[in-house]
Amino acid sequence: MSFFTDDEAESLKKHLTRRSILTGAGQGALAIGGIMAMPLSAYAARRGAASSADGAAEITVDQAHQAPIPIVIPDFGAGMGTRISEVISADLSSTGLFQVMPGQVPAGAQPDFSALKASGARAAVAGSTTGTDSVRVEMRLWDVLAGQQLQGTAYTASESNWRRVAHIIADVIYQRLLGEQGYFDTRIAYVARTGPRRHQETRLAIMDQDGANSHILTSGQWLTLEPRFSPISQQIAFLSYFQNRPRVYIYDLNSGQQTILGTFNGISFAPRFSPDGSGVIMSVTTQNGGADIYRVDTATQSRIRLTNSGGVIDTSPCFSPDGQQIVFNSDRAGSPQLYIMSATGGNVRRISYGKGHYGSPVWSPRGDIIAFTRLNHGGFSLGIMNPDGTGERILTEGFTVESPSFAPNGRAITFCRQTASSSGGVGFTSTVAVIDVAGFNEHVIPTSTGASDPAWSPFRH
């Protein structure tokens, strides 16, 4: 086993994300964030078949929505092995695309394919966990119907990284079976909320996408909202009311430092990074009761005004994934609606025409849809539409459902769900939830405090 430079790991990573099969002794090892991944040889009897099984992922996400893939996830061993199996199972189950089945799959031999087939399984995982301080986790993914190994990898990591190993294994399973990159080894930035409804203490926070490993990043002294991940760096743009001057700041996850972004007389808010990470678009209030959209360069702090709307509110800007267009929220026609303009401003056209008010649009990283919040008769909906405004579909509703943010593969949306309060603030809850873009499967991410303003991270590996 040998370690690689970042560049080498990067190129191997790209290799990993293709649908090729990592088997055989010819493959090298791969390091991700302190976790070593090394291919396992296929068993001799099947080596030939396995190495020609490219393109094994014939099931699409749409098909799996209709018929979740039955997959056996056995215990990876006592103690930590059990916990790893639980995390893998929870990840896969949370998508609604897998039907996780308990069962026995031998870690050191080919499984009994006919018995697995008889149980209804389409895929099966074998795994083992050894070691204490440095943990070695071996996993093999089997295509039960074809009787082939789809993946065989040994991961070595420090014990503290065990959850990440489990998420990476779940990502591999997702990718091998569905042909798309999984989103389990990702994080969600959010606002942790404590205290009474009328004066919530708000803190910038970050957690794994399943709610584990949450960390509070700021003190709670100042109202803090709207975190957004940089696509390229360990940075989060957010709104802080530091010294009662609400402005967009950058929080650096490595140093813990907060730096103001841009110099504006008005309130700057609703930040969103450009896809290449070189700039942040944001909304800035004006003296005449409106708000304009600006782009601020993260390196030079130079700014460009993209809208100049004379008293109307333009806010919640978000780039298309190719960086060519911006979707935003504006009340220029009298009520808040969704518009698209070119990334340099101009060529503005409205895309929302349903009943009620629209807000907080976000463009899918796949480019195919835009998620939004809609308000009608005092109730909130969370929906998606095509970028030309057609095909609007409501995914979920509630007293308040807002602040959508896409998983980096575009297949799920995290959002904030809040309940109404009565006198004394009783009944108010604020949670972060996840729903798939088909609207089939919604679940709340467990957090120890109230939570809002979720922002999904980019892929980590």
Binding site: Y241, N244, S283, N288, T315, S316, Q418, G425
Partner: protein, 199 residues
Amino acid sequence: MYNTILDSLSNKGLASVKGASLIQVKGAFSFDSLQSLPKVRNMKFKAFGILGLTLALAACGSSSDQKASVGEGVSQQSGPVPGSEADLVASAGDRIFFALAQNKLSSEARATLDKQIAWLQRYPQVNILIAGNCDDRGTEEYNIALGQRRSNAARDYLLAHGISANRISTISYGKDRPTVDGDNEEAWAQNRNAITSVR
């Protein structure tokens, strides 16, 4: 619960009190006791949002009892100190209300602002902060701009009636610092406001 006392010039925290005891005002409202803190006398202070100060003001604004003090220098027995926050509340009223999704000043709002103007002319040394707020029936982001639009509307009215721009600061809390609890038409109407406070 923390209350941080801020120096009004540097905005740096001067004191932080954990678990400040709650006291009751006429049994209906409670706020964190600030009276026991050191250095409050002769120091302008702000308790961020409605914690402490604004809660106390809400108590004042919602009842006829103007004896509730918001800091040392105002005794429980005497009326509000001239030029103080409590005096503004008592003499003029500190808040105006807006219709749904609107920033238009109603005749009632203008009447309150007229009284604020007279009061500000009486105390030319006093600077104010106007905070715009919204009900929670809008998105977080849009409502920050809408709240600012409301505080701007109040500010513009004061400017048009001769109050100097350098005496007025504005801020918006969007829907994140509701003035009253509850989610019904009555509560929402009270949460669509612009609240003036002494800086």
